[in-house]
Amino acid sequence: MSFLKSETARAWALASPLVLVLLAFLVLPIIWILVLSFWRATEFAMVPDFSFENYAYLFGSTVTWQVFLSTFRYALITWVLTLLIGFTVAYYLAFHIRSSTVQMALFLLCTVPFLTSNIIRMISWIPFLGRNGLANQALLSMGVIDQPLEWLLYSDFSVILAFVHLNTLFMITPIFNTMMRIDRSLIEAARDQGAGGWQILTNVIIPLSKPGIMIGTIFVLALVMGDFVTVRFMSGSQRSNVGRLISNDVGLLQYPSAAATSIVLLCTVLILIGLLMRFVNIRKEL
């Protein structure tokens, strides 16, 4: 019995540093946000309270619903595009590159853009997409268009372009990782059983890549749903999402309202991920 006790104590001791870090930097802040979301705010001060005022206002406003809807739309479109690009790149790296040196080199190449900051990578699109930017100038000089395209920048297009650019790697990495673990003899077995290239893809590779796809999906959804900088920069402050709603409230020192929105967003994302986890068991992959 004392042996068991000391074992348990040891296990707790070993886990405690991580538990403390998570408590201090994850659990406590979230609890604090939750508490704050029930406070009331006047123009000048925050009043401790237990009121559902913030939530009532949030759910009562049509703006909230529109902003949540547009956030979902950004997330969905970005997810589809990053999945298509990410899967294709990972598939190419995992199954078409024979030499493992070239494979690793190309994979590292994919990560090179991540050596610069998010903001810089985003802003660098602006001179390219602008009214007199490179894209418009090139299209004009080729005679494809005779008026500069207005929708290239400060539009949904530029927002989604930036989202896809920033987040595709989070899709490539987990999918590539699961694909590398697929036993190559399974592909041979499928071919031996008469499967063509497309059939191998749909019957063997996609089902076996599902955990990677799911992990990538969680990354991309969480990043896009929580974003506010990309939408602000790439839409020229003309589009909004939940992140911007929160950041505006924070800017106006309306912390309780920002906290309530954050809690709703957090729950939304958690429910979404919970639903996804029901489809694919990623535990065995981690």
């Binding site: 003899s185 077995a189 499928a190 031996d192 008469g194 059939q199």
Partner: protein, 325 residues
């Protein structure tokens, strides 16, 4: 002994850059025979099998099945099916779906393919586990499923790549009996790659011994074991001593070697190994060649030998067998 249903390898060669994995081999596999490709690792036996299966391209030469050159056909169109060393069962599919995979690829409807899969699972006594996933099966069960999956394509030749190597010794012996029974029942050709000579001797109608990318010797097991053509075959098949007698090299079966006190070839005992029904006595001759004599247990303990003792070795000259150099 040609028949129109033979599988024939004609000048079959596989080169990887400058190395030759399979070098100009010719062989005829008669229909409905159990053939073992036997050899040490890297001898080209697996490459040969994979070329027949279509998972490895042929550098030159051809593969004929029933008179038709199949060497450039897709694996599934050759009339062959392969059972992989690690079984290569699809981990995300149930046993039933694994077995019916090839029918699904052909577009056969679900009811028909599942019925067919169940009949093959009956054949390998696995029907009761049809809903399990491969990970929920033992090694032996996985192998039966892999077998059913290969057989559902109704191959004329079944290719088995070291099928028993992943099993424990007890199961290995049981499964090999089962493989043999299936081959007899189905009356198709089994080509079985192995590096275990006991497995080959136990199973094969014909043993094909390969070494260094070529066929060293082929024939019925009793002939290959009893009359090895080269020193390599004699040593690889085991149970033989290779000795220089006069001007040539000879193979002498270990159980033919008699141990006397002084007469015969003089040697020093270096080791004694009890093997149950017999005792293996290892000795070193004056020419520094190693000889193993298998002595029946009772005979040994009537005249025990201790290492270091000087022995006289003899054998019936009729039992020594000349090797090609």
């Amino acid at each position: 002994m040609r028949s129109p249903n033979d599988l024939e390898l004609v000048h079959l060669t596989k080169r990887y850059g400058t190395t030759t994995a399979v070098k100009d081999i010719n062989h005829i596999f008669p229909p409905a025979s159990y053939v073992c490709l036997l050899g040490p690792s890297g001898c080209g036996k697996s490459t040969t099998l994979r070329m027949i299966a279509g998972h490895e391209s042929v550098s030159s030469g051809s593969i004929l099945l029933e008179g038709q050159d199949i060497s450039s056909l897709a694996p599934a169109r050759r009339g062959t099916a392969m059972m992989f060393q690690s079984y290569a069962l699809f981990p995300h599919l149930s046993v039933r779906d694994n077995v019916s995979f090839s029918l699904k690829m052909k577009g056969v409807d679900k009811a028909t393919r599942h019925a067919k899969a169940m009949s093959l699972l009956e054949l390998v006594a696995m029907a009761h586990l049809a809903d399990r996933l491969p990970a929920q099966l033992s090694g032996g069960q996985q192998q039966r499923v892999a077998l059913a999956r290969a057989l559902i394509t109704e191959p004329r030749v079944l290719l088995l790549d070291e099928p028993l190597s992943a099993l424990d010794p007890f199961l290995r012996i049981r499964m090999r009996a089962e493989l043999k029974r299936l081959q007899r029942e189905l009356a198709i050709t089994f080509i079985h790659v192995t590096h275990g000579q006991d497995e080959a001797l136990a199973l094969a109608d014909e043993v094909v011994v390969m070494n260094n990318a070529v066929i060293e010797q082929a024939g019925p097991p009793r002939q290959v074991w009893g009359a090895p053509r080269t020193e390599f075959v004699a040593r690889f098949m085991g149970g033989h001593n290779v000795l220089t007698v006069g001007d040539g090299r000879y193979a002498i079966r270990s159980d033919e070697v008699r141990i006397g006190a002084t007469d015969g070839l003089s040697a020093t005992a270096t080791g004694v190994e009890y093997q149950g029904d017999r005792v293996a006595v290892t000795a070193r001759t004056v020419r520094d060649e190693e000889v193993v004599a298998l002595v029946p247990e009772a005979d040994f303990f009537a005249h025990p030998i201790t290492p270091g003792e000087t022995l006289g070795l003899s054998w019936n000259p009729a039992s020594q067998h000349r090797l090609e150099s």
